[in-house]
Structures are given as C-alpha cells and as structure tokens.
C-alpha cells in the first residue's frame, strides 16, 4: 500500500486569516503541502466595465475604490494615463503633492502589512503596536486630504487640494515621529528571534522564479531583483530624486528570497518613504496645483482628445499600470488596470510548495496580496451554468480578434 494519499484542503473564500475573499485548493500529505491551486474571482466587481460608461473625472473615484489600501496608487496611474493620452501638463507643485500622498500611503500600507504579518505569526502584541504607530500617518492623511482611506486627492492635471502653510509643521511632526520610531520597528521586526525563526527559509522565491513569473514590488525585490518603477523610469517628482530599489542585501549582505527578506525590504522602505516625503516638503515648488481648475472645461477638453496613454506607478505592492484609450467620446473607449497582485499571484505556487500547513497564512500574507485590485472572473455560460477555462491559445485568438475588430 502506498504510504499516504494527499488530502485536499480548500481554504477560503471566507477564512479568518484572509482579509479578502479568495479560494485556495491545497493538496496536503501529512503536514507538507504538495500542490496548490488558486481560484480567484470572489471579489470581482467589473470595474473596467463600469468605467467605460462613466466620464473621466467620475472614473478617478472608481479607480480609487479598486482598492482602499492603494487608494492613491490607482488614481495616480490612471491620471497619468489620461494625461499621457491627452497631452496634459501637470504643474510641478502638484507633482510634489502627488508624491507626498503616494509615499504617505506607502508608509501606512507597509506598517499595516507588518502588523498583519505579525498577526499571522501569532504575535498579536506586535500587531497592536504597529497599528498604533500607523495611526499617526492616518491622522496626517486625514488632515491633508479629509479622509482616512480613499483620499480623493487626484484630478486629471493635478491634485484637488493644496498643502497649506499651516499643515507643513504638522507634516514635519509626523516625519520626526517616524524617524524616532523607525529604530524600534527595526528592533522588533529584524532583530527579534521569534520573528526570524518563523520566517527564515520559509516561502522562498528564488531569483530565477521571480524573473520568470514577472513578480513586482517588494516581493521581487526581496528575491534580489532590482526592479522599481521609481528607479527604472522616474516620473513625476521622483525624477528629481535619486531612488534606488531596496533589496535585502543592504541590510544583511545576502539575498535568500524568503519571508524574512520580504519583511526587511518593507521595513527599509518605510524609512525610504519618510526621506522622500521630507525631501518633497523641503523642495515644494510654488505655483498652481491644477492645469485646468474648471472641471466642466476639463471634461470638454477631454472629450476632444484622441489617443492612447499608459500610466505607471510604483504602488506599495509593486508596479501598477493603467491603460486608457480616448476616442473623442465622453467616456474612455478602453480602460485597463493591472494591479501588482495580479503579477505576484503565481509566485505563491513555488513559495507554498513543500511548506508546512502552519506556514500557509504567513506565506500568503508575505506578498501582501490585494485581491480587490486583482480579481478577474471565470467565464460561465449563462444558459448551461458550465464553467469554461480558456487556454492560452484561445485567449490569444480572442485577443487577436478584438484587435482586428477595433482596427476596423
């Protein structure tokens, strides 16, 4: 008789360790994971479809609600795509304010993640401490933008709110706070034996796999791939800064690509973001914050625009790309968003292979998944309710047909 057959264990879509709905099908032999299959689709809302029925300014708010945690990243990329398509110049002051908001978001997102990761390890006191530290930046975001989540700051051709003189001391206070607290974060996450024991050599993603699966963001940087849009193709105010992609060897001198390395990258990036915010604040240019303050006029201009545009931005989880095609209509002809989790998803498969069941939560959390950003649907025939999985060839064929249709 064979030793043992593999157990099938489904996890999700609703599970206490998952913030968002997502289904995993594990095959487990004893305590070891033999294989894993992902079944996304539980969080699909059809956002791109809705966007095609709305005007450009309305879409900004929809883009914000692709994901509450990346609620600066998606509008940032979307606005850049539209500006790229319509040839709109953004005033320098607005570029700096955009970067300040994006970096504040990165601070809150990384600290949020660190807390969740500690929770998955069963280290709840660290969860509480790190979320306490996070509240400082949430307060600041609320003061600048008026909301804790979904800031509503971005507008085509600039930002909607200025940073006033009175706010600047408050922002400096936050910068000082994080500089103070940073050493503690490092102590807790990087020098603590209990975190190291649970995360070293767990969920390894090799350099080759990271390249092969085209992963992005901290997930790929932790495997030693120096990839960061802010470094590779500087845009907005990042062009004035000299940003270097952070890899774990800066801290430890070596790259293992495990969960521990992903913690290192994110913790170091918190400090990097604090420095970027400080630089932007010191060099904040004077001037306008919008290229066209009247929204009606802006919409009229966009209605005359024709062309394609791509907007890229390094979100906390990696590169987000928005593609927009304008065709002298009120609404865009095509809008396509690609969020970082979509790329990082497949890296779960090599990471989870041969791991223990108890490590599932931390490995899943280690890429900082954002299902809301990523989710797609499977096709279901509405008459027969049969699900259909498209192969790569079929997808390619559909894509070619669509290109032909649109060229006509």
């Amino acid at each position: 008789m064979s030793k043992s057959t593999a157990y099938k264990v489904p996890i999700g879509p609703i599970h206490p360790s998952l913030e968002e709905p997502m289904t995993f099908n594990f095959e487990i032999a004893g305590e070891r994971i033999q294989s894993v299959d992902l079944a996304p689709g539980d969080n699909h809302r059809g956002i791109e479809f809705m966007g095609r029925n709305r005007n450009i300014v309305q879409i900004i708010y929809l883009a914000e609600r692709i994901c509450g945690i990346c609620s600066a990243s998606h509008p940032f990329a979307f606005c850049r795509a539209v500006e790229n398509a319509a040839g709109i110049e953004v005033p320098p002051r607005a570029e700096y304010i955009r970067v300040i908001i994006a970096e504040l978001e990165r601070i809150h997102s990384h600290i949020l993640w660190a807390g969740v990761a500690a929770h998955e390890l069963g280290f709840d006191s660290v969860l509480y401490l790190s979320w306490k530290v996070r509240e400082e930046v949430m307060d600041l975001l609320e003061i600048i933008t008026g909301n804790r989540v979904n800031y509503g700051m971005f507008m085509i051709g600039g930002v909607r709110r200025d940073i006033t003189e009175q706010q600047i001391p408050r922002i400096r206070k936050t910068i000082e706070y994080y500089k103070d607290v940073y050493q503690k974060l490092e102590d807790v996450f990087l020098d603590d034996p209990s975190i190291a024991v649970r995360t070293k050599n767990v969920g390894v993603l090799t350099y080759e796999d990271a390249l092969r699966l085209a992963s992005v963001g901290p997930t790929t940087r932790a495997s030693g791939v120096k990839k960061d849009v802010r470094q590779d193709q500087p845009y907005s105010a990042y062009a004035d800064l000299d940003i270097k992609a952070i890899t774990p060897d800066i801290h430890t001198g070596e790259v293992n690509g495990d969960v521990y390395d992903r913690i290192i990258v994110r913790v170091l990036e918190v400090l990097q973001s604090v420095q970027i915010v400080e630089y932007c604040l010191n060099h904040l240019p004077e001037g306008e914050i919008l290229s066209e303050p009247k929204i009606a006029k802006l919409l009229a201009n966009l209605k005359k625009a024709k062309g394609e545009g791509v907007g890229r931005h390094e979100a906390p989880r990696g590169e987000v790309i928005h593609y927009v095609k304008l065709n002298e209509l009120e609404n865009p002809e095509v809008w396509k968003a690609r969020a970082p989790t979509y790329n990082n998803l497949m890296s779960w498969v090599p990471m989870l292979q041969n791991q223990e069941v108890a490590d599932i939560p931390i490995v899943i959390a280690s890429i900082d998944p954002c299902i809301g950003c990523m989710d797609r649907v499977t096709l279901t025939d509405s008459e027969t309710y049969k699900q259909q999985v498209l192969t790569r060839e079929e997808l390619r064929q559909l894509s070619i047909e669509k290109t032909r249709r649109m060229l006509k």
């Binding site: 879509p13 609703i14 945690i69 509480y128």
Partner: protein, 156 residues
C-alpha cells in the same frame, strides 16, 4: 416570546467581505487596535459565524459571494443582528451598475443597522455595534420604554 437572559455578555462579531474595496475592512481592523480598542467594551472579532452575535458585512455583494452571504447568515445563531458597513453595501455605492453586483445586502438578508460612509469611520462602526446591541436587548423582551432608558444610561 421572551428570550433567555443569555445576552448579558460581550458581543462577538463576525466580519464578512462580499467583494468590497477593502477600505471598510481595514477600518474594521483599525477598530481592534489601540487607538479605538473596542475590546475594552468586550467586542471581539471571531473566526466563525457560529460563535457570533453580530455580523459586520462590507461590500456590494457580487455574484460569487451571494450564496456564501446567505449561508453565513443562516449559520449565525439567533438572536443576531446584522450591520452593513459602508455605502457600497448599503446602496451599491460606486459599484451600482456593474454586471457582477447583485446587492445591496438588504436585498438578500434582513439588515438592522446601516453605517454609511465610504469608508465608514471607525467611530461610526462603534456606534453601529451599539445600535445592534440595543436591538438584541429589545429581542430579549425589554419594552420600548426600558430600551429608551437604556439608551439614556449608555449615553450618560
């Protein structure tokens, strides 16, 4: 019917995401952490609907989550209260015209408390849980007057 006095205890809460943008979910987690710290009121997030008194539901309900929403509602023992957190669960919000959205939540299960906002503020969610608790008190058989008294007591 007069229910047992079993509700003289802390409220346990189960959180269900039916396809939200995550904004409200993050605010729910923020509730548990030191700034708002609802655990001091005995409010605790639990891992199974079978242990819960209150359901916190976020998201506009997409097609794939609908059967799960109903299932989880049925799995929660009576007496229970349902709170919808966020505008998108209350009315559809920005997602109102999608092909994949079958919500809002109250089209499918009875809802007791709505917490509006996109996202809802943590203070608002605490207030919502308080309202749900009062509803559970009423289910226990307190008269309208007694409930009002209780509201005054809580406010004081």
């Amino acid at each position: 019917m007069k229910l047992d006095k079993y509700l003289d205890r802390s409220l346990w809460v189960f959180h269900l995401n039916t396809g939200s943008c995550n904004g409200c979910d993050i605010e729910i987690v923020a509730l548990l952490t030191p700034r708002y710290d609802v655990e001091r009121f005995g409010i605790k997030l639990v891992g199974s609907p079978k242990h819960a008194d209150v359901l916190l539901i976020t998201g506009p309900v997409n097609r794939k989550m609908l059967p799960r929403l109903k299932l989880i509602y049925e799995q929660t023992p009576d007496p229970k209260a349902v709170i919808v957190v966020g505008t998108c669960g209350t009315s559809g919000g920005v997602f109102y015209d999608s092909y994949n959205i079958v919500g809002p939540v109250d089209k499918h299960i009875p809802v007791d408390v709505y917490v509006p906002g996109c996202p809802a503020r943590p203070e608002g969610i605490i207030n919502g849980v308080l309202k749900a608790w009062l509803k559970l008190e009423r289910l226990r058989g307190l008269s309208g007057k007694e409930v009002e008294q209780k509201i005054e007591e809580v406010k004081a």
